[in-house]
């Protein structure tokens, strides 16, 4: 009868692989399944115990086996991430988005020049904050557990966005001094550009 490893044994394999330097969740899942399949077959064919079979499998792999797979995965993710970021950046340059950005810039500059600086600070922080959080939860639902690269990129985008909120809080009180107007209006507009790029609208 076919040997099937129990949950405890699978967790043991997964932790061992993690100790060998495999930190990517999807690679760990794949390696765990590979090792488990091999161990199960050895236990069935050779009639040996779980721990002996596991030891034999790991000794065959050698010291740098998992590190090589991990390195290749890092290279793949970096390449894909760069490709995706460039694609998202290029997608921004469409006429409607550019027009909205220019309109936002003029709008914010007008508000700041007319003494609404402090007033729009909280509205701005609230808007970006609520939009970011709701999109974060919604998109996590859409993406699904398996697509970790997308999720990783999304996290990256949002950390930039949250930086903008905090930076905004620091810069806004200076909104009423001379050249600060221009800087802050560009700054708010740019944060919306980042939002567009992150959510890829």
């Amino acid at each position: 009868m076919k040997v099937i490893l129990n949950k405890k044994q699978i967790t043991h394999i997964s932790k061992l692989i993690e100790k060998k330097g495999v930190n990517y969740y999807d690679v760990n899942l794949e390696m765990t399944d590979h090792v488990a399949s091999e161990v199960e077959e050895m236990m069935f064919v050779d009639g040996i115990d779980f721990l002996i079979a596991l030891k034999q499998v790991f000794s065959r792999y050698g010291r740098f086996h998992f590190m090589k797979i991990e390195e290749e995965q890092t290279k793949k993710i970096q390449k894909q991430s760069l490709k995706q970021s460039w694609k998202s950046f290029v997608q921004f340059f469409t006429l409607p988005k550019i027009l909205i950005t220019v309109a936002l810039f003029i709008f914010f500059q007008f508000l700041l020049e007319n003494g609404f600086g402090d007033y729009i600070l909280y509205t701005y922080a609230l808007f970006v904050g609520i939009t970011s959080i709701s999109l974060f939860y919604l998109k996590r639902k859409w993406i699904g557990k398996e697509n970790y690269l997308q999720l990783h990129k999304f996290h990256g985008g949002f950390s930039v966005l949250f930086q903008f909120i905090f930076q905004g809080m620091i810069h806004f009180p200076k909104a009423d001094i001379g050249t600060g107007f221009m800087f802050d209006a560009s700054f708010i507009t740019f944060s919306f550009m980042v939002l567009f790029i992150v959510i890829e609208v």
């Binding site: 099937i4 490893l5 129990n6 949950k7 699978i10 999807d26 690679v27 899942l29 794949e30 390696m31 765990t32 399944d33 590979h34 488990a36 399949s37 091999e38 792999y61 086996h65 090589k68 797979i69 290749e72 995965q73 793949k76 390449k79 894909q80 398996e146």
Partner: protein
């Protein structure tokens, strides 16, 4: 046999197996390769997963996750683009072996 001879054909072997068997997982590929060549051709895990992940990034392969025997299993299958590439690569491989055979046995060619 020299590993260098195998290296260049590994991608073609993976594509051929997926073309014939539909979707497969990593361990299944290593096992099938060993079986079909009576142990003469062994793919190391390091080389196999490097190729699989590279082909996945190039969108030649599509992946599916499924819970099997209480653990998550990652299945690979050829994408539409991959199917076309597999047919081409298999033809290339056949032609290469034919030419090589002709070169090694001039009388038979």
């Amino acid at each position: 046999m020299s590993n260098k001879l195998y290296k260049g054909t590994l991608t073609n072997v993976v594509l051929k197996l997926l073309h014939e068997n539909g979707r497969m997982y990593g361990y299944e590929i290593t096992k099938k390769t060993k079986e079909q060549t009576n142990g003469g051709f062994t793919i190391t895990e390091g080389a196999l997963y490097t190729i699989l992940h590279k082909l996945e990034a190039e969108e030649v392969l599509e992946v599916e996750f499924e819970i099997v025997d209480g653990r998550t299993r990652k299945y690979y299958k050829l994408s539409e683009k991959g199917e076309q590439e597999a047919v081409l690569k298999i033809e290339e491989l056949k032609l290469f072996i034919q030419n090589l055979s002709g070169f090694l046995n001039p009388k038979l060619a």
